[in-house]
Every structure is written in structure tokens, then in C-alpha cells.
């Protein structure tokens, strides 16, 4: 008994590296994902965006994302801190957060899942592999009819 309700399908990409940003946009486009993509360059901006403060109050302009790609190494607030914040807010608790980072460090993986990341993806070493990864993301998180979402 699924009840289908309109859902704002917006993506938020939290990433400070311009190059990575470029390749992510490229990969998302290459995977054929046609959803609005918003970017937060620092952890603090991501928090502001998600909680709708400091210029992000207008939800028409800055809609609440449906899925967040979160880098771990960020200036000011780290990705793990952003994740902890998101999971501490009752209204954000169900938000889909995919960690996308260059680190495969065991402690980072552990912490991210403990804090409630929905997935932990390691940035591939080059663009074509990133494209493949985004196709997988699309297939699983966006086009998957068997996936139940909150």
C-alpha cells in the first residue's frame, strides 16, 4: 500500500574541490540524471542550506534535496560533522546521504555508517569510472522501482 506523494527531487552536492565538482556534474549528466543539482562548497554552507538559514530560507530557490552527495574532507566543518548534524535534526533524519570521498580509511567508513550514512562511495581514480559510478547510483537510488524510500 504505497501512497505516492509528490516529492521534490533535488540533489545536493557537498564538495569543495572545483575539479571534483566539474567531474561530478559531468558524470551526473553522462548518467542521464535530469534533476536540479545544488552545490554547497563547505560543511557549514551545507548545514545552512539543509536547515534553511543564512540566505537559504527560500525553499523555492533552494529546495530541500531528496539526496545529498557528501564529501568528507571539507573546509570548516567536516563531512562527518555535517552528517552528525543531519542525523541530529528530527526533520532531516530521513534524508538520504551518500558519502562520496577519496578516502577508504577504515575509521572514516566506520564513523560514517555509525552516524547513519545511507551509503559510502569511494571516488574512482578517473572520470570514466566516475561516470560508471553515477550510472550505478542512478540505477539504485533514482530508478529502482523496488527501493522503498522514506
Amino acid at each position: 500500500m504505497t501512497i505516492i506523494r509528490p516529492r521534490p527531487r533535488t540533489l545536493l552536492l557537498v564538495e569543495d574541490n572545483e575539479d571534483d565538482l566539474f567531474f561530478m556534474r559531468r558524470a551526473i549528466a553522462a548518467a542521464g540524471v535530469d534533476l536540479p543539482l545544488h552545490v554547497a562548497e563547505t560543511g557549514q554552507v551545507a548545514i545552512d542550506y539543509l536547515s534553511g538559514v543564512n540566505g537559504y530560507a527560500d525553499r523555492d530557490k533552494h529546495p530541500m534535496p531528496f539526496l545529498v552527495f557528501l564529501d568528507l574532507k571539507l573546509p570548516q566543518k567536516s563531512g562527518l560533522e555535517v552528517l552528525a548534524y543531519v542525523r541530529s535534526r528530527p526533520e532531516l533524519r530521513a534524508l538520504l546521504v551518500l558519502i562520496l570521498t577519496s578516502s577508504r580509511e577504515e575509521s572514516d567508513v566506520q564513523k560514517a555508517y555509525t552516524l547513519g550514512a545511507n551509503s559510502f562511495l569511494v571516488k574512482p581514480p578517473n572520470g570514466s569510472q566516475l561516470n560508471e559510478l553515477m550510472k550505478l547510483v542512478r540505477a539504485y537510488w533514482l530508478d529502482n522501482p523496488q527501493l522503498a524510500l522514506p
Binding site: 500500500m1 501512497i3 574541490n17 575539479d19 571534483d20 567531474f23 559531468r26 574532507k73 528530527p90 533524519r93 530521513a94 577519496s102 578516502s103 577508504r104 580509511e105 577504515e106 571516488k123 574512482p124 581514480p125 578517473n126 572520470g127 570514466s128 566516475l130 522514506p150
Partner: protein, 1414 residues
């Protein structure tokens, strides 16, 4: 912090409270306030009774008395007690119509004042007082206790408290104080315990929810008896005006109870005053509104209902569903939403079990929009969720701080909306309506409107669920009961109707007005016009009767005799019965028709049987009347003469007429039948309405019953007051009996002593048995006699003086001589007391006389004997002294004074006898004196001083003089001068002693040397300053025979400060651990800061007068009189400390001791120096280790960051190269494209290099704890999963079963995959790689071999390849970073294993890994 414990008790409470207090500790900082129901007209003995059972002070409360810890405060009778800011206030008790609620009253204020620090205790008692207080205290977060019901003499009070579900602990009274104190000490744990306790208990009782109106706040408010009261009515108006909700049809008893509560809270005494308050303060209206609405609900109330719904109702509903729409459920009266969410949970459980896809929609409504906000939020405290099983809690709730929140999925299923069941339109097309425990709060008239509404709102075959004590009432035509116990009803297919215009008792003002005017008479004007009308009517109007709806005749008009007759049997005015035969049926019919059509109906030509005349009947309904009435006219008709009957054509005409006649008859009969049917319907309706009446009277009976219960409670509470009183009376009775017994004893005692009473004129008025016995005169002989003449009293002073004193003081005491009847003289100690009357006039003199003749005689005898003894003593030639028990001289014979050359012995040495003796002899004297004190005679020889002359030797004997009790009372000391004999004796003894001393000294010196050696050996290796100093102090004390030894020393501590400590040797108080040195001792240790030892022979005479004659170094340790201090100086000349020994006596240490102690100090200084150096070394090592650790940590962080940050630009490089190729490939030359490919390949390699470095650094970190690992499984898994190993040309064989070894699984995996990777990689291009893996058992380990057919490694390189970045193959030929083997070596080292290889160039390599066997 002060805790206030409010204890409520009633009948039987004294016993319980006594038990409670007996167990109460006296130092718990708790103030106990006892609130008991006491007889208002009676002084209470509680305080006295309780004081006997506890050592806590017990006081009756006075106004403004602060609640004092460790005291018991008792409420006085006839008072209400409140507490504010910890101060107790008394107020006169409100005259109450119901039972007393003093306990509730106090506990509520306690909760308000003390909050979560409040403690409430309910002990034995009848009634329900205290339950509300318990709730209040619990709500404030306080602690609540109730007496174990089976222990309480009267259990209804504790039982009712427990039933609230708010009691934390149910305990016997004597266990409570301990629990209270324990809980107060450890608040968090106990609260938790208390909470689970409460939950458990409620579960066990299986109580559903709580009574909605638990409190009967009948605080003396006299409420009007019915809803007709204008004030109540106005209150309803105000309520409806502000909230839109009409309460006039709510149950009046409920409303009155709530109103009483509000009145009590608002402190007003009647409704009109309250009404004023409501008008002034709209907020009070809101408060009243909230109070009136009943918000009691809980999750899964009556769980059986939900089970029934899941098993039997939901399946039916879903089965009937076409799937196009959701299952629609209406929760009417949802309060805080528990019912709605319970329903949603139940449905979702049903849905998941049955797999149905029909969605759910719940409408939850309540008239109170405030609670709807709560309900919508769906947040509940753990207490509210106690009926929810952990599984449901986990599945449907999320934690929200301390509370839980219903999950959004469920919340989305429920729509909350304000809705008044009584006036708003209902939802429609519902599958299920749950309206539980709502109808019980409204009057039955309203219930009758609601049930049809539900019927209307439901789909065909929809279900209705009601509360356990509710029913569909008369509407069995609308609903049939499906499950009686669960109150589940099924909609019957019947016409539904919906009446939106709700009846209300409020807007009926007009009806009321009418009712008020009703008694005004109808026919009171007797004027002429009316009379004229009447006459005219009687004369010209056809005969008629006025009947009411039922056919009862109200009035006869005109002559009706022709149509009506008096029936037989019971007298009646029923028209149908009175109508003559032939008219009755038509009349019935006509009236029915008139009623139905509401207009006049007429029927002609009716034959009145037996009278032969015909009549036309007309029935006219009268309009605009309160009652429906009909006027029945009888018009007389002249019958036409019967037609002439001809034979001819008769039959045909006749038959035609007959047919017409029969037809008419038939039509009439049909009409009649219809009428009968109608009449039948009417009576059914009537039956129903009387049924309703029965129901309503039933309701009334129920409410009466409730009132009876209330008065029963009142009776119980007065009964309980009586019981309390009775208890007190019983106790008081016992006391009376006790005092009577005491009085009797005293009387008997008095009889033993002679007592007489005489008048002021000396005549004897009273003569007791004692007097008879003493004087020999009987009562008869004595009474009336002049006292002094009869007894021959002889006074030792003039009688006038005695009498003067007697009258002045009111009493006289003295000794007189009197005579017995037989003439013997008596010495009498007399006590006279004047007895005055009310006016203060002397009425009599009481004489209590004691015979002291015997004592007098004994005194005389004693005096004589003493003078005899004295004369004996005086004649002794020795120095005879008498001492008191303190050792002071009491008496010396004249000879003694002469011998000692003393004139007044009190002036010598403070009169203290031991002071007469010199030096060591003084001790002997004291010993002897002590022995004598304990009753033993003693003897000694001693040198004693004479006052003027030289000291002389005395032979002294001292013995106790034992008194009457067998204890020494004083002492007798006799000293004889033996100076001449003593002189000769001493000179011989001296020579002998000198020899002995020399020998002893030699032996002692030898022992000392041994001890010193031992000490030297034991401290040489000692590193702990504490142990070292203790050893030295002990040795010094032992060797110098000191009583006390201490080693003061300085310990440098971390921040450069120096801590002074002292190690002490035993001084009789046992071994002493080193302690920090008290500041005030510095004065003593100061001499030690010189470089050589110092000796003090008598601290009393030298030095430190501040310390008195003795020096006490530390509290509780020996006071020393002589001492020796030796400094402990290091090689560098610093003073490290000082060695100190002391003795309680002066002059105990010799120069030899000094040398010995100095030697020990020197040894100690060397040892301490050693220890110090060692200590410094150790600290340095620690510091370096710490620095190393930091460096390692920094390096790890560095490598992590570097590797991580290196990858980002690398990724960018590669990706841009790819992007360039993809996006601009066409524009590029082949060469450019090749370069791009090279960039990519280089990037990939660098990335792998970074990852390898990362792995290496991870492997280097710390150590692992090897566990038993199944190598066989591990290696086979690697081979299966490693893609290169599965390549078609590669052949990997594992020989046999690989063993279990001690390893770390992750590290071992790393090693094997690296080695296998190498084995496949370093193979010439023309050769197919072949790998063989096998294990070899060693003594305590396993060697696992990995053999390949690759290019091999020359022996020269075999060590080098395990180093970082070392590669043997030429660059470019074989891919690799040169780190793989370094990782393997590191990982193996970490697991405690080794790695190695055997190889030759071109021959392939055999790598081995050696693991420990498990």
C-alpha cells in the same frame, strides 16, 4: 538538602505510623509531616503517643512552623495543613459535606512547594483520601509510597492510592524510611527503579486507564440539585459562547463534580460567586472547559477489542472493499490520540499479516482542539506508553529525547480535526467508527441522537465500537451486537436519518417561559359573554364531544345520550368505549383519519344500532393547541321510510343494492383495518417511548446510587474518625490505669511513713498507719488530741520562732524530740507543710515525721570511736599521715609534723603526698599510692625531702582505709626514717652493678653493629624513599631504645615543588605509613638544617616552651621529652631530610646514640641519593617515550593527509586527460592522444602507489592480537575472488589442507594476496603462470610456501626486495610500486610471524610465510 515527607494516614494509622517512625533514621535530613484524620472535637494525644516510639522529636504543628529536618510534625485536629516555601501553615478545616480530604489537600501543596523533592506516603486508612495527592506528587516528579495492602489495618486508602498507578513503591510501613533515604541518596537509580516498579504493578493489576473523575473535591460547596439552576445555566451559556460547545446535555453529575473542583481551586464558595469570576476572567472559562472535557485515554485500552478487530473485523472490511478507496475509520473523541494511533498500529499489523494493500485513513476528532495539537504531534512519555509492547514501540515509534514519537508513516494515516459530535455533521462512508467512553459522559437523550448519526455515517455493513460500559440503547433496529464483550456492533440495513438540528436544553428559554406560565388557569373569567356563548352553544350546536388524541373525552357538549352510553365495568371517558354500537368503529377510523390528514373528516348516514336512527359524524382537529384535540360532532339525520318492497324486480334491484352496500361495507372494513394497523403502530411507538422512560429512570437510579456511594464514603470516613478516636481512647485508658496503679503504689508507700495532719490549733485531723506504728497511739486515740501534748514534743528552739517560720515559708523542717505511747523518747526529723484552702487561709499542717533515733545513737557512738582512734595514732613515733583519695594530705600526727619539720602540711607541695619524694622515688611513691587506691597495701623505700633539712631514706607503708562500702575511702601512710641502715647497703650494691653494666654495654655494641649492617644492606638497593626512610627510622628507634622515631624527608614532585613527608617507626601505636609533614613541626626540624646532629636532654627545660614540657610531633603520637635529631645530607651538600628519635622521659639519649644515629643518617643519605638519581633517569626515559609516541602519531596523521590530498589532484589530472580525449578526441593528433593515455597510465600508477603507501602505514600502526585463523578457507577464498588468479592460463593449486594458525585475518589476507599477485605478475610473457601452495609443519609453527614459475630473484637481491620502494625488475617491464613485499614483511612482523624466500634467477621463486601454531 531538606526533604519533606508527607505521610497520610487515617484509621489504623497510628499503628502504621508508629512502625514507620521506629524504622526512621534520626540523621537523614528528612522532615516527616503526619497528616491524619482526627476527631475535630477532641484533643489529640498523637504527639505523646508517637513520642514514645521514636527518638525523633515529635511536635504538633503550629501556624508558620518551618518543616524541620529530623523532626516529626503532627497535624492538629480540625485543621487543614499546607506547606509553602518549606513553612507549614494551618487553617481551620473547611466544613465538608463529604469525606475529609485533608491528606490530598496537604499533598497537593507539598507537590507544588517541593516539586520533585516531595515524598508522599499513604498508610492505613479508610476511604480514598490521599490518592489525588499521590497523583499530584507523582506529577511533580516526587517519590510516592503506599503501605502494602495486606499489612494495613484498613486497606482502602492505600489500595485507592495504588490504583492510581502513581505509586512508586508498595511496602510494609517499617521498610519505607529505608527506601526513602536510599532513594534520596541515589536519586537517578532509584527513580528508574521506582518507575519500572510502578509500571510492573499497573500491568499486574491489569487496570484499564484511570477513573476519569477520581477526585471528589467536595470541599464544602453546596451545589444546587439540578440543571434548572440559573447559575449553572448561565455558566453553560458562557461556555458555549466562548468555546462553542454546549455542555447542557452532558451528564450533570460529572459536570457538578468538575465544577466543585474548579470552585475549590478558585477558592469561591458558591456558583454565583464563581459565575462572577468566570465573567471577569475568561481564562477561567478555558480552564473549566479543559476540566470538563475528559482527556483520559491510553494506548490499547481493552486490548481484547484490538485483537477482535484484527482477527474478525478488519478481514471483513477489507473483504468487502473494492480496493478503490481506503479503509475509512472514524475515532470520535480521540483525546490525546492514543486510540487513533492504537487503531492505526492494529491495522498496520493486520495489513502486514494478511498482505492486504487496501490503505487506511483514520479520522480522529475531538471537541477539544487543544488536545488535538498534542495528538497531531504524536509525542508520548514512557509512562503513557506503558501499555505498548516493546516490539510495537520499536516498530512504530522513534525516540525523541526521553519521549517517543509516533512514526511519520502512522501519523500520515491519521487526520485530526476538531468536531463536536453533538452539533457538527459527521464523516460519511465509514467502515468503522470507534467511539469509546464518550457516551458515558452525556445524558441519554443525547446518546439517542448520536447513535443514529453513527448509523448514518457508516457504510452498509460498517462496524461500530463502543466503550465497555456503553450500548446502542434502544437502537437495536440500527445495530446488531457482533461481539458483546468487546462492544462491537454491525450496522443493520435500515433507513438512516440525520438530524443536524441538535436538541439543546439551552435555547429552550421559550419553552421554559411557557412552563412557567402553565399553572395560570384556563377558565377563570366568568363574564356574561362567555355564559351567553355557552347557552347558545348548548341550544343550537349539534351534540358534540371534545376528545384528546387518545380518544379520552374532555368535555361533553349538548345532548349526546343518543350516541353515547355508559359502558359496563370500570368508569371511563374513552369515546370508543362509550360510543353506542355501530358508531365505535367509524369513530375510531374517523379520528385516525383526522389525525393523519389534519383536517375535518365526515361520514354520513351511520346507523346507531338498536336506536333506529341515523347519524352523520364529523371529526374536526383543533389547531394551535398545546395538546392535540378533536371535536366530534353528531348530526342527527331523519331516516327515510323504508322503501316499499315490491316483489317484482326485487331480486335484481335488491341484488344491485346489496352489491353496493357490500362494497361500501368492504371499503369501510378495509379502512378500519388500516386504522387498526395504525393504532397498533402507535402503541408500539408508545411502548418504545415508555422503554425510554424506563431507561432514563434507570439512569436516575444509577446517579442516585452514585450519591449513595458518596454518602457511604462519608460514613466510612466518619467511621474512620471514630476508629481513630477509639484508638486514642484505648491508649488513654491504659495510661489512666497505669497512673491509678502508680497512685495506689504511692499510697502504699506513704502508709509506711508516719504522716499526720493537724489543724492550725494543733488538733490531730489525720493519723496514718505509719504514725500508729511509730508512736503506738491508734488512730482513735490520736484523732482530735492536741498534737504536741500527746506526743510530748520537745523543740530545740522556741516554738514561736518555729511557728513564725512555718507561717512565713509555708513549711518547716527540723529535729524534735517526742515520746512514744509507752514513754520511750524518739528523735524525730519533722517536715511540716501548711495546707491552704482556696481563700489562702491556712487549714491544716501536714507533718511527715521520720524516726531518726537510731541514727542519732550511731552518730554518738562514732564520735566516741573516732576520738579513741585519734589518740592511738597520735601516740605513734613514726610519721603518720592520712591521705584522701586524690593523694592530698588530710591529717598528720603531731609527731609526723615534727619529723618532717612541717608546721602546716597544707602549705607543703600543694599538700600532694607523692611530691614529698625525690626523682625516681617519686615514681615508687606514686606506684604505691595507686596500689593503695585499688585497695592493696604497699610498701617501698625512698629518699624523701624534709622541708628544712636534707633528704632522708624512709621505709614507707601505705594502706587503704576501707569504708562501709568495702571501697577505700582514704589512705594511711606511715613512714619510718631508715637513713642510717640504707647508707651501708648502697655502697655494697654499687660495685656489683658497675660490672654488670660494662658487660651489657659490650653485648649491646655487638648487636648494634649487626643491625647496622643489616640496615645498610637492605637500604642500599632500596629505590622507594618511603620504604627506605621507614627502614632507617625503625632501625634508629630500635638501636637507641627510643620510644619514637621519625624520618623527615623531602620528595621532589613534578612541578619543581618539594613535598615534605615523614616516615615513622612504631611508637606503640603500631607501624605508621608515611604521611605528609604538618607545618608546625618545622620548628623541631630546624636544628636538623645544620650539618651535625643535635641532642636535647630535656625539652621541658630547654627550647620550645610553646610546646609545654613535652613535644608531641603528631597528633595521637607519643609526647617526647628528650630527643635526638640528625640531618641527612647528600653528597652535594643538600639537606635531604632529618632523622629524629625521641623518648617520653628526659635524658634518655647518650653520645653513643648520637654517633649511631649520625651513622645511620649518613647511610640513608647515600641510599636516597641513589634513589634520586634512578628516579630522574626513569623520568627521562618516560619523557622520551612520550615524545616518540607523539612523533609516530604525527607521522601517521601526516601520511594519511598526504596520501589523501595527493589523490585529489591526481584524480583531476587523469579525469581531465580522459575528458580531453572524449570531448576533443577528434581534434587531437595521434601523438597527442598517446600522451594523454600516458598521463592516464602514470596517474593510475601513482594512485596505486599512494594506496600501497597508505596500506603500509596502516600495517605499521600498533600491534594486533593474533587469533586462530582457518588458513585453508582464507587462501581458497582469495584464490576464488582474485580475478587474475582465475584467469584461464593461470594455474593455482593448493596442496592438501592448509592448517589453522595464529594470525590476524585482515593482515594475513593482505600478505597472501600480495604474494599471489607477485607470483602471477613476475612471469615471462611466454610462460603460463603456475603457482603451488602448500604447508609444512615445524616444531611450534607452520611454514606456508608459495611457489611460482616466474623470473626468480638472484640471492643478492633477496634481502633488498623486502624494503620500501625496492624493485628488482627493470622499470616498465613489470608493473608495480615496490611496496607490496614491504607490506608483507610489516604485516607478518605485526602478527609475530616471518617471511622469506628461496629463489634463483630464472628458476622461479619460493616465498614462505611462517605462522605460529595455535
Amino acid at each position: 538538602m531538606l526533604r519533606v515527607v508527607g505521610v497520610g494516614a487515617s484509621a489504623g494509622g497510628l499503628e502504621a505510623f508508629t512502625e514507620f517512625l521506629r524504622a526512621a533514621p534520626t540523621d537523614s535530613n528528612v522532615a516527616y509531616i503526619l497528616v491524619q484524620h482526627l476527631d475535630p472535637t477532641h484533643r489529640s494525644l498523637l504527639v505523646e503517643l508517637l513520642a514514645k516510639s521514636t527518638s525523633l522529636p515529635v511536635r504538633e504543628v503550629t501556624d508558620q512552623m518551618p518543616a524541620t529536618p529530623n523532626e516529626v510534625h503532627v497535624i492538629p485536629p480540625n485543621c487543614d495543613l499546607t506547606i509553602m516555601d518549606g513553612v507549614l501553615h494551618l487553617s481551620p478545616r473547611e466544613k465538608s459535606s463529604g469525606g475529609s480530604r485533608t491528606i490530598d489537600h496537604f499533598l497537593r501543596t507539598l507537590a507544588a512547594d517541593q516539586g520533585d523533592k516531595a515524598v508522599a506516603v499513604i498508610l492505613s486508612g479508610a476511604g480514598s483520601d490521599g490518592s489525588e495527592g499521590i497523583k499530584a506528587v507523582k506529577a511533580a516528579g516526587g517519590l510516592t509510597l503506599a503501605q502494602f495492602e495486606n499489612d494495613a489495618r484498613y486497606d482502602s486508602m492505600p489500595r485507592s492510592a495504588i490504583a492510581t498507578g502513581c505509586v512508586d513503591f508498595v511496602l510494609p510501613a517499617e521498610k519505607m524510611p529505608a527506601e526513602i533515604v536510599r532513594t534520596l541518596r541515589r536519586p537517578s537509580g532509584a527513580k528508574k527503579r521506582a518507575a519500572t516498579n510502578a509500571r510492573k504493578r499497573t500491568g499486574a493489576l491489569g487496570k484499564e486507564g484511570s477513573r476519569p473523575f477520581g477526585d471528589d473535591g467536595t470541599d464544602g460547596v453546596d451545589l444546587p440539585p439540578g440543571p434548572a439552576d440559573q447559575n449553572l445555566r448561565k455558566i453553560f451559556f458562557l461556555l458555549r459562547g466562548r468555546t462553542g460547545v454546549d455542555f447542557s446535555l452532558y451528564r450533570i453529575n460529572t459536570i457538578r463534580r468538575r465544577l466543585e473542583r474548579r470552585l475549590g481551586l478558585a477558592k469561591v464558595s458558591d456558583l454565583s460567586e464563581y459565575l462572577q469570576l468566570l465573567r471577569r476572567h475568561p481564562a477561567e472559562i478555558d480552564a473549566l472547559y479543559q476540566d470538563l472535557l475528559i482527556n483520559v485515554s491510553s494506548f490499547f485500552r481493552n486490548p481484547g477489542v484490538f485483537e477482535a478487530l484484527k482477527k474478525r473485523v478488519f478481514p471483513k472490511i477489507v473483504e468487502q472493499h473494492d480496493g478503490s478507496d481506503a479503509v475509512r475509520i472514524w475515532i470520535a473523541g480521540c483525546a490525546m490520540g492514543q486510540e487513533a494511533y492504537s487503531m492505526a498500529i492494529a491495522y498496520s499489523e493486520f495489513a502486514s499479516q494478511s498482505g492486504t494493500e487496501v490503505p487506511l485513513q483514520i479520522f480522529a476528532t475531538d471537541v477539544n482542539s487543544n488536545t488535538l495539537e498534542w495528538a497531531r504531534a504524536g509525542r508520548y512519555t514512557p509512562a503513557q506508553l506503558e501499555n505498548v509492547s516493546p516490539a510495537r514501540l520499536a516498530r512504530h515509534f522513534t525516540r525523541d529525547g526521553e519521549n517517543y514519537r509516533v512514526q511519520k508513516v502512522l501519523r500520515d494515516r491519521v487526520v485530526f480535526a476538531p468536531q463536536n459530535l453533538l452539533s457538527h455533521p459527521p464523516f460519511t462512508r465509514l467502515d468503522l467508527i470507534s467511539c469509546r467512553n464518550v457516551l458515558i459522559y452525556v445524558e441519554s437523550a443525547l446518546q439517542q441522537k448520536i447513535i443514529p448519526t453513527f448509523h448514518y455515517a457508516l457504510r452498509p455493513a460498517g462496524y461500530l465500537v463502543l466503550g465497555s460500559s456503553e450500548s446502542v440503547g434502544q437502537f437495536t433496529n440500527l445495530f446488531e451486537s457482533r461481539e458483546k464483550s468487546n462492544k462491537i456492533f454491525l450496522k443493520k440495513p435500515a433507513a438512516s436519518w440525520l438530524r443536524l438540528a441538535r436538541p439543546s436544553a439551552l435555547p429552550v428559554r421559550t419553552a421554559l417561559d411557557l412552563a412557567g406560565k402553565e399553572p395560570e388557569t384556563e377558565f377563570n373569567a366568568h363574564d356574561a359573554q362567555k355564559e351567553a356563548d355557552r347557552l347558545t352553544l348548548a341550544k343550537y350546536v349539534p351534540a358534540s364531544v371534545l376528545v384528546d388524541e387518545t380518544g379520552n373525552i374532555l368535555q361533553f357538549r349538548g345532548d349526546t345520550r343518543a350516541y353515547l352510553d355508559l359502558p359496563k365495568g370500570r368508569a371511563t371517558f374513552q369515546l370508543m368505549k362509550m360510543a353506542r354500537s355501530g358508531l365505535d368503529l367509524p369513530l375510531t377510523r374517523l379520528i385516525q383519519q383526522a389525525k393523519r390528514r389534519n383536517r375535518a373528516v365526515r361520514e354520513r348516514g351511520l346507523i346507531v344500532e338498536g336506536r333506529g336512527n341515523a347519524v352523520d359524524l364529523e371529526v374536526v382537529p383543533l389547531r394551535n393547541l398545546k395538546r392535540r384535540c378533536f371535536l366530534v360532532f353528531f348530526y342527527k339525520v331523519d331516516l327515510p321510510p323504508p322503501p316499499a318492497e315490491g316483489r317484482k324486480g326485487r331480486s335484481t334491484r335488491h341484488s344491485a343494492d346489496r352489491v353496493a352496500e357490500l362494497r361500501a361495507e368492504y371499503a369501510r372494513a378495509r379502512e378500519h383495518l388500516a386504522t387498526l394497523q395504525e393504532a397498533h403502530d402507535t402503541s408500539v411507538e408508545e411502548l418504545q417511548s415508555s422503554n425510554e422512560e424506563v431507561q432514563s429512570s434507570n439512569e436516575e437510579l444509577q446517579s442516585l446510587n452514585e450519591e449513595l456511594e458518596t454518602s457511604n464514603e462519608e460514613l466510612e470516613s466518619s467511621n474512620e474518625e471514630l476508629t481513630t478516636l477509639n484508638e486514642e481512647l484505648g491508649t488513654r485508658n491504659n495510661e489512666l490505669r497505669e497512673s491509678e496503679r502508680r497512685l495506689r503504689e504511692q499510697h502504699q508507700l506513704l502508709e509506711l511513713a508516719p504522716v499526720l495532719v493537724r489543724s492550725p490549733k494543733d488538733r490531730i485531723l489525720y493519723w496514718n498507719r505509719g504514725a500508729e506504728k511509730l508512736y503506738g497511739f491508734t488512730k482513735d486515740e490520736a484523732l482530735g488530741q492536741i498534737c504536741h501534748i500527746l506526743l510530748g514534743t520537745h523543740f530545740s528552739e522556741p516554738l514561736e520562732a518555729i511557728l513564725a517560720r512555718l507561717w512565713r515559708d509555708g513549711k518547716w523542717e527540723g529535729e524534735v524530740q517526742q515520746r512514744r505511747k509507752d514513754g520511750t523518747a524518739l528523735a524525730i526529723a519533722a517536715q511540716w507543710v501548711v495546707h491552704y484552702d482556696d481563700q489562702g487561709k491556712a487549714r491544716a499542717v501536714l507533718e511527715a515525721n521520720a524516726d531518726i533515733s537510731g541514727r542519732k545513737r550511731a552518730e554518738d557512738a562514732l564520735r566516741a570511736s573516732e576520738s579513741f582512734n585519734r589518740s592511738i595514732l597520735d601516740s605513734s613515733p613514726d610519721c603518720v599521715c592520712v591521705l584522701d583519695l586524690e593523694g592530698r594530705l588530710q591529717f598528720m600526727t603531731p609527731e609526723a609534723l615534727r619529723l618532717m619539720e612541717i608546721e602546716d602540711f597544707r602549705s607543703v607541695a600543694g599538700g600532694f603526698w607523692p611530691n614529698f619524694w625525690e626523682g625516681e622515688h617519686r615514681a615508687a611513691a606514686e606506684t604505691a599510692y595507686r596500689a593503695a587506691l585499688q585497695g592493696r597495701p604497699a610498701r617501698f623505700q625512698a629518699l624523701g625531702r624534709r622541708v628544712r633539712g636534707t633528704a632522708r631514706w624512709w621505709d614507707v607503708a601505705i594502706r587503704p582505709v576501707v569504708g562501709a562500702q568495702g571501697r577505700p575511702e582514704r589512705m594511711l601512710a606511715v613512714a619510718r626514717d631508715i637513713s642510717d641502715a640504707k647508707q651501708a647497703e648502697l655502697s655494697a650494691a654499687d660495685a656489683l652493678q658497675e660490672r654488670g653494666r660494662l658487660y651489657e654495654e659490650a653485648m649491646a655494641a655487638r648487636a648494634e653493629v649487626e643491625v647496622l649492617n643489616q640496615v645498610g644492606q637492605s637500604i642500599a638497593a632500596e629505590l622507594s624513599a618511603d620504604r627506605l626512610t621507614a627502614t632507617v627510622a625503625r632501625a634508629a628507634t630500635r638501636l637507641s631504645r627510643a620510644e619514637f622515631g621519625a624520618f623527615f624527608y623531602n620528595v621532589p614532585v613534578a612541578d619543581g615543588r618539594v613535598l615534605s613527608r615523614v616516615s615513622m617507626a612504631s611508637d606503640g601505636n603500631g607501624p605508621v605509613p608515611p604521611v605528609a609533614l604538618p607545618d608546625e613541626i618545622e620548628a623541631v626540624t630546624r636544628p636538623a638544617h645544620s650539618s651535625s646532629p643535635a641532642r636535647f636532654d630535656d625539652l621541658g627545660s630547654e627550647l620550645l616552651s610553646d610546646y609545654g614540657s613535652h613535644l608531641r610531633l603528631l597528633a595521637n603520637h607519643l609526647a617526647v621529652r628528650s630527643c635526638l635529631v640528625a640531618p641527612v645530607i647528600s653528597r652535594s651538600g643538600d639537606v635531604l631530610g632529618a632523622l629524629f628519635i625521641g623518648h617520653g622521659k628526659p635524658g634518655m639519649f647518650t653520645e653513643r646514640d648520637e654517633r649511631m644515629v649520625a651513622g645511620l643518617a649518613a647511610q640513608a643519605s647515600v641510599a636516597m641519593d641513589n634513589a634520586h638519581v634512578f628516579d630522574q633517569l626513569e623520568r627521562k626515559v618516560e619523557e622520551r617515550t612520550e615524545r616518540l609516541r607523539e612523533t609516530i602519531a604525527e607521522l601517521q596523521a601526516f601520511s594519511y593527509t598526504i596520501s589523501h590530498d595527493l589523490r585529489a589532484p591526481l584524480r583531476a589530472m587523469q579525469s581531465y586527460a580522459q575528458a580531453l580525449k572524449e570531448d576533443h578526441g577528434a581534434e587531437l593528433t595521434d601523438g597527442a592522444r598517446r600522451y594523454l593515455t600516458r598521463i592516464e597510465v602514470a596517474g593510475l600508477r601513482l594512485d596505486r602507489l599512494i594506496q600501497d603507501v597508505l596500506t603500509y602505514s596502516r600495517v605499521s600502526q600498533g600491534s594486533v592480537a593474533p587469533k586462530e585463523v582457518d588458513l585453508d578457507r582464507l587462501v581458497r577464498e582469495i584464490v576464488d575472488q582474485y580475478p587474475n588468479l582465475r584467469a584461464a592460463e593461470a594455474a593455482v593449486t593448493i596442496e592438501g589442507h592448509l592448517p589453522n594458525v595464529l594470525a590476524d585475518e585482515a593482515s594475513a589476507t593482505q600478505c597472501f594476496s600480495n604474494l599471489l599477485g607477485n607470483a602471477l605478475k613476475f612471469v615471462p610473457k611466454d610462460r603460463a603462470p603456475r603457482v603451488r601452495i602448500f604447508a609444512q609443519a615445524r616444531e611450534k609453527s607452520w611454514k606456508v610456501w608459495i611457489e611460482d614459475n616466474g623470473i626468480g630473484i638472484s640471492p643478492d637481491d633477496q634481502e633488498r626486495i623486502f624494503k620500501m620502494f625496492e624493485r628488482v625488475a627493470a622499470d616498465g617491464e613489470y608493473d608495480g610500486t615496490g611496496i607490496g613485499l614491504a607490506i608483507v614483511r610489516k604485516a607478518m612482523e605485526r602478527m609475530g610471524g616471518t617471511v622469506g624466500l628461496e629463489s634463483d634467477l630464472g628458476q622461479g621463486s619460493r616465498f614462505w610465510l611462517e605462522f605460529s601454531a595455535p
